[in-house]
Amino acid sequence: MYCMPLDRRSLRIIAFRGLTLTFTLIVVVILTAIIVGATGYDEVILRAVINEQVRAYREELSRPGSPVPPEERERMVREYRDTLVRVYGLDKPWYIRSLSNVPRLVTLDLYVTQEEVAGVLGLRRPLKVGDAIAVALPRTIIMITLAYVISAFISVPIGPYIAYKRGSVFDKSVIVYAAITNAFPVWWIAMLSIFIFGFYLGLAPTSYRPIIAQISKLSDAIYSLNITNIILTFKDILYYSYLPILVVTFSLLGAWLYSARAVAIRVVSEDYVAAARAKGLSESTIVRKYILRVIAGPILTFVILGLAGSIGGYIITETVFDWPGMGLLYYVAISTGDSPTILALVYVTTLVYIVARFILEVLYVILDPRVKL
């Protein structure tokens, strides 16, 4: 492949792309902050939380045998309420409440505000958002990123062969398979597989929450270098994760095969492939040298962007499996109105995606000198 040294022009292009992507990241985060705040729903939820705490406090005060005299109680309750309002930032308008989070967001120096959010990860408050993500991320990687990698490994080598055998039964079944997996949402396949493999056949767990304990057991085992324990817990993790991984892979594979096929078909019908065949090269050489090499670019794009996108987790599928990864964290954070966690998740997932895109842009510029501003 022709490789151009990075001259000033290329550097300028890369710098420009970097700037645009940073701009995009900033706008995305600010926009999310606005939506979190402007829809007013975090305010509604925060008020409910405060009311609940104030009610509990009042009950505490008015219990029989309470040392606080009754005339003092109302004042104390009022003061307690004011403190809570300040703590949750409800005394400020929403844009200050949301936007004041933004600078601390960059270093993930924010705290989870809702007990349920920590609870879904098997943790307790106080909890830094960064730590919450650090706990949730490996679980999502086990389930979704792994499924991505498996699908990519299966489909990239077979794509060109499907393209080659266009019109064959195999090709047709790949298309039908792709259409089916494209049509049925992955979370429904998840529901169905829990229903069949979990409840009817009893081959898989019906509750996936124990994965939390298993993963911490594994890290303990790795820490103490206990080989038998590592193997045993690994087996348990496999028991809890094989169905989710299979389901997501099943669903992803269709799209992957179809895209790999489509990309390869474009190449297969190019003149230079016909020329290579006319030269008498063997089909496998043609696939290796002329097709795989050319489709490497678009496939690389798919892989990198797919992997980057996968770390955000599958919100619905993880919720259906009750799988405590990024997706479920997202969902619980949103439904409990934990705006710091929501913002942090949007920030982290977008950041990863944008960094991946930036890497791709740099690769494009390096590999293809024709790319222009």
Binding site: I45, A179, I342
Partner: protein
Amino acid sequence: MSKMPVKESFISYIARSIKEGLREVLTYNMGRVGLAILVFMVVMSIYSIIVLPGDFPAMWRYVTEPPWIYNPRSALPSWVEYLGFDVSETRTYTAIRPQESRVIINPDDLFRYAPEVERALGARRVALIGYLEVYRVEYNLDSRSYPQDIIVLFNVKASENVNLTNIRVIALLYVTRPDDVILKIGELSVSLNMLNYMKATHEYFSLPYISYYNLNLTLEEMKTYFNIAIFGKPITSREFESLRGTYQITLVLLYIGIDPREISRLIADRSLSVSVDIKVLGTSYGLLGTDIYGRDLFMGLLFGFPVALTIGFLVSLAIVAIGLTLGVISGYFGGRIDEIIQRAIDIIANIPLLPILILVGVAIQTQGWTGWPALSIIMIILVAFSWGGVAIISRSMALSIKSEPYIEAAKALGASTTRIIFRHIIPQIIPYAMAALVFGVPSAIIAEAGLSVLGIDHGLPTWGRLLADAQANRGVAYNMWWWVLPPGLLLGLFSFAFVALGFTLETIVEPRLRRR
């Protein structure tokens, strides 16, 4: 001149393109399958609009109201009987005619014409005179599963000069079992204007039943398992087995309060009519069974058809329209406006759509919005963040078409920018836009379903809503395949139709993908 060529309008151009496109789509297997499913969806939508009442969403929502309370709960589809499932059928005897109807002056006549009254387990003789109607229906039980209930529905109609409050009615409900034991399972004594419905209860037969069979059961247990007592035979002091055979259900209506001959006259000249429906609730019901509230899942699914098509097409159409317009503007005019649109696409492409949708969905819920307004907001968000893809394609196509010589030619002829865009550029993009449109249709309904499964309730019984109900009751619902499977299958079938059509269109407009 033999034939006068008529200038072709833009509309007829589009119509002709669609016709030609359809013809081409039909040459592909995938296209045929997709189109067939689409036609099925349209037919079902029309049927749904005709059959379902206008206030169906509200009706669906109130699970403790008629008609759902008159349905068996968690009932399987009735056709599963043919697959070897052991289910008892649900039978409705609508507007049945009385077997006996006469004025009785002598109390003994009651026992003559309605012998069940006297022969029921633990019956007491009472002296009653009035106007008598006796209804009898037969129900055949051939299953190990017990029917859930027996319900009688009354529909009283009277002309204005009849004072219903003066007429009282005593309703007595009996069941004559295959083993010839007669159980009294209901009694009602109300004035005619209050006559609404009655259902089987344990009260009138529990005590004699326990002593007759010498059972070791409490009244509380009898209350809970009254249907087992009615349709089953004790095999030990606590265990039952269903009693197969023909059951006769007898409803005795005795009109009192005014002169029985007067009632007879009112009924004869149709100034008063009491229509009676008897329902035996089995463990199977209808085409697709019921959920745990007794809601007819077929009706729920039926409602989903027009909603899915409407949401899908509206959202997709809006996405394509906006994407196409902005893409063409961006590509054709270039410059600063292009830059702005490109950045906007960049931003919306990076915004995580589902979290935003969930956020907005939760916000809608906290604001207490339901129904179509709530759904519309979700649809608007969906459109606002999804037009980027179409815009990118349209832009690159507009860019390449813009440099075609025939655009230059049109400019040389003095064509305005509007004319060039609408006459020369957009028609070229239409096939691609059609493919994008078709691909986009399922995304809206799948997004809606996903949101529903996450618990965001917009209050309309869509397929996603049904799945969400099943997911919310996952402990029970995962044993009820007829609740989990059909909504998902329909959702999948619906999207499959469009994916298949989309693949076909893609093959047509991108000839390199076509088979040689």
